[in-house]
């Protein structure tokens, strides 16, 4: 291939991509309801508000195409019950799994690399049972399936990440909103620690930058932040119901930084108060400027 051919191909390919992009936005503009950047649904049923939030963004069909291999990544980090708000609400996870299948997903996998014993976390959180019942392939982390991935980020050169998430067609991040001793809050970007292998506790020495680095490599199609119950103190593990607040909310979006910035407001903070949100914004991973976003509220 000579230079001219190369340029020609590149030009045509670029044109194709841009046409496809503009066509996409053209189609999207036909639906007046799905121009929201962030959808916030409130209501008593975690499953139904999850669906409502995703519908407000245009429905799961907008994110999942037929036959997709989907990974739904909840937070199953701790040996805690759903009411203790240390893990993602199992009904939220199950609703997303069902929506994926309804949208034609081929497989939906659910996993996390917990801190407490995995068996207890999966069982006590209610997530293994709920997600399996919805048809997901729930599996424990297989330590052999971590692969060192080049990151070349702000602080991380490379890190072993879970191959099943790297090989997925679509990734849906389903974190829960909680406090955290160093990050202040753990929301969406921090949830990627669950697909990091090795001695991941070392990243705490430069946590904010590390989280942005990993969030650049793992690109979620959709983020669904569970704020049905949030943990306001003694996070991320909690344990006392005194620290749990029921917000009965689910927040959905496609911008990792924006969703986390919105999550901060649940705790009376601004996105810019969180180091990783600020760095994510500055480095162009997303935007923390909520005033520039269309936020659609749904109440059931």
């Amino acid at each position: 291939m000579n230079r001219r051919d190369f340029l020609k191909t590149t030009f045509i390919a670029g044109l194709g991509i841009s046409i496809h992009g503009s066509f996409d936005s053209f189609v999207r503009s036909l639906y007046a309801s799905d121009d929201a950047d962030i959808a916030v649904a409130r209501g008593q049923s975690p499953g139904r508000i999850t669906k409502a939030a995703i519908d407000a963004l245009g429905g799961m069909g907008k994110f999942i195409t037929k036959g997709d291999r989907v990974v739904v990544k909840p937070n199953i980090g701790w040996d805690r019950k759903p009411e203790q708000a240390a893990n993602t609400n199992p009904e939220v996870v199950a609703a997303i799994v069902s929506l994926c299948y309804e949208a034609g997903a081929g497989t939906v996998k659910v996993f996390d690399r917990p801190v407490s014993d995995p068996r207890r976390c999966y069982k006590q959180s209610g997530i293994a049972d709920a997600a399996s019942a919805a048809g997901a392939e729930v599996s424990f982390i297989d330590e052999r399936k971590f692969k060192k991935v080049a990151i070349d980020g702000l602080v991380l050169k490379d890190w072993p990440l879970y191959t099943e998430i790297l090989e997925a067609d679509k990734i849906i991040n389903v974190p829960i909103a909680k406090t955290h001793g160093l990050a202040m809050l753990t929301l969406g970007m921090k949830n990627w620690m669950g697909v990091m292998g090795g001695w991941r506790s070392r990243i705490h020495q430069s946590l904010d930058e590390s989280l942005v680095d990993v969030s650049r490599v793992i690109k979620p199609t959709l983020i669904v932040l569970d704020a049905v119950r949030i943990l306001t103190a003694n996070g991320p593990q909690g344990g006392s119901l005194d620290d749990v607040r029921e917000l009965n909310m689910v927040i959905a979006g496609t911008d990792q930084v924006a969703v986390d910035a919105y999550g901060a407001t649940l705790f009376g903070l601004r996105g810019s108060d969180l180091g990783y949100v600020r760095i994510g914004h500055q480095s162009g991973l997303g935007t923390m400027d909520l005033s520039k976003l269309v936020i659609r509220n749904v109440v059931l």
Binding site: D79, D117, R119, K123, H180, G181, S201, H204, G239
Partner: protein, 520 residues
């Protein structure tokens, strides 16, 4: 025809009990729920040596005691059928002995008495508060050896094999092996590869004992097993007896095949206390002169123990006590900081009176943190459980060790009780802790701390770096009143090998002496 049926029945019985044992053994593992689904200590519950020695040493009657009465009554009526038909360890001896093609009959006519002296030694020391039965009890020895050595080794072998095929990534074959691996993971393998201190030692001892079958079949059962001795004594007046009819030609076949050295002469003389009731002699007698039944025995030979040796073994059992206890731990001043007992463990003295070192708590421990001691609790406490947080921590909401303990050495705690029981206290080594020693941020110990109100809190300190710039670091502090000593901070501390936060046994709930605070 009739006799062959008996032998097949016995083998079937042995196989079923061995399989039941192995099934329960493999089930002794968390599936994530709070309770284990199966009565995994089942076999130990039925073990009269365990229940009688526990009764003597701790004056305690465990639930299992009543089950062991079943075996006691059965033995009193039927003789040592437990040894020949039920004991899973005995069955393993049978299986290994199969490879020994020499005649079964041992050459050592008098060695059989040794196990009785062993029994007297054990029971005498039990009466004077030392629980040594578990070290030699066959069920306890079997569970311990399988838990801490054989099963981990089999896991290692299996995992290593499948991992190799996985790494080689051979088309079709790897796919198939992964499928098989998945099935094994569900039904046979442990959740994670277990590792145990002294696994090699305990395993070698076990294999040596099994290997003795190649020297002489059922060597252990004949000469060493204290449970066999206990059942032998209990069986003295059993009503299931053996008689030899006049048709006996003293050919000696029965004496050759007897796996228990119970037939002492070629004329068919029978020492009932040594008979395992395998009934092979009945099977193989060319004259069909041997009969088992509820009949009067003839040609019986009594248990031949000398009064002098009995006295010596009892005296030795008593004398062993002071010898075992002239260690600093027996005094009140010295408390071993590394001896972190599982949650619910009784006071050390009571604990040692009851623990039979079966190793079930270590097998079931969800993090592999419970490990066998060597000398941490003195020689008397060998192979009792201690938590080693650098290997694994105590999961905050897990109560499995207390659930499986057969003698109540570890109490079964409710979830609520478990959350308040302290097994030690975490202390920080500021010379290694990242925020203290190097001004590097790290909050791992606080993050993983499981108490609802965290037992680790932060002090914000403004520090100066080498280049003169200032920064604020959060330094972890332990709340000594809240810390339960679970050790998760030690397990996850990024300072590897010798963590900057570690647990000492101080403040453990079970001890009155091992306290730091005025108001614990």
């Amino acid at each position: 025809m009739k006799t062959k049926t008996v032998r097949n029945l016995r083998r079937l019985s042995q196989a079923l009990f061995l399989l039941l044992f192995l099934f329960l053994f493999i089930q002794t593992e968390s599936k994530g729920a709070d309770e284990l689904g199966y009565p995994v200590k089942f076999f130990l519950d039925f073990d009269p040596l365990i229940s009688i020695s526990a009764l003597l040493s701790a004056h305690a009657i465990e639930t299992g005691f009543y089950l062991s009465i079943i075996v006691i009554v059965m033995t009193a009526l039927l003789g040592r059928v437990f040894c020949g038909w039920i004991c899973p360890f005995g069955t393993l001896h049978n299986m290994v002995g199969y490879f020994n093609k020499r005649i079964a009959h041992g050459s050592q006519e008098t060695w059989y008495a040794f196990k009785y002296y062993m029994l007297f030694f054990i029971l005498a020391s039990s009466l004077f508060t030392a629980q040594l039965a578990g070290i030699m009890d066959p069920i306890s020895l079997l569970i311990r050896s399988l838990s801490l050595s054989i099963y981990p080794a089999l896991n290692y072998l299996t995992r290593a094999s499948f991992d190799t095929i996985y790494r080689l990534d051979i088309p079709v074959i790897t796919h198939g092996s992964e499928f098989l691996y998945g099935i094994l993971k569900k039904g046979f393998l442990s959740f994670t590869q277990p590792f145990f201190l002294q696994g090699v030692f305990i395993g070698a001892l076990f294999l040596f004992i099994l290997g003795l079958n190649l020297y002489e079949r059922r060597f252990w059962c004949k000469y060493l097993c204290p449970l066999g001795a206990l059942l032998g004594i209990l069986s003295r007046f059993s009503v299931l007896n053996r008689s030899v009819s006049e048709g006996c030609t003293s050919c000696g076949v029965c004496q050759e095949v007897c796996p228990g050295n119970a037939i002492t002469d070629s004329d068919g003389s029978w020492r009932s206390t040594e008979c395992l009731y395998c009934m092979d002699c009945d099977d193989l007698c060319p004259q069909k002169a041997i009969r088992f039944g509820f009949i009067k025995k003839n040609r019986g030979v009594p248990l031949d123990l000398t009064r002098r040796n009995i006295l010596v073994s009892i005296t030795a059992g008593i004398a062993a006590l002071p010898l075992l206890r002239i260690i600093p731990q027996s005094g009140k001043r010295y408390l071993n900081p590394a001896l972190i007992r599982p949650p619910g463990a009784l006071k050390e003295k009571e604990f040692l009176k009851r623990c039979v070192r079966c190793g079930e708590c270590m097998k079931v421990c969800i993090t592999n943190g419970l490990q066998p001691t060597l000398f941490d609790a003195g020689l008397e406490g060998i192979w009792t459980p201690k938590l080693v947080p650098t290997i694994g921590y105590c999961e905050f909401r897990c109560t499995l060790c207390g659930q499986v303990c057969p003698t109540g050495a570890i109490e079964k705690l409710s979830l609520l009780e478990k959350e308040t029981v302290k097994i030690g206290t975490a202390v920080i080594d500021t010379g290694r802790c990242l925020p203290y020693a190097f001004n590097i941020p790290c909050i791992v110990c606080e993050e993983v701390c499981p108490t609802p109100k965290k037992s680790i809190w932060f002090e914000k300190i403004t520090v100066k770096h080498r280049d003169g710039t200032e920064a604020v670091v959060k330094r972890p502090r332990v709340d000594i009143e809240l810390c339960v000593g679970c050790g998760i901070c030690e397990t996850y501390c990024p300072v590897k090998g010798k963590p900057a936060i570690y647990v000492i046994s101080a403040n453990e709930t079970r001890s009155e002496d091992n306290q730091i605070l005025l108001k614990p």
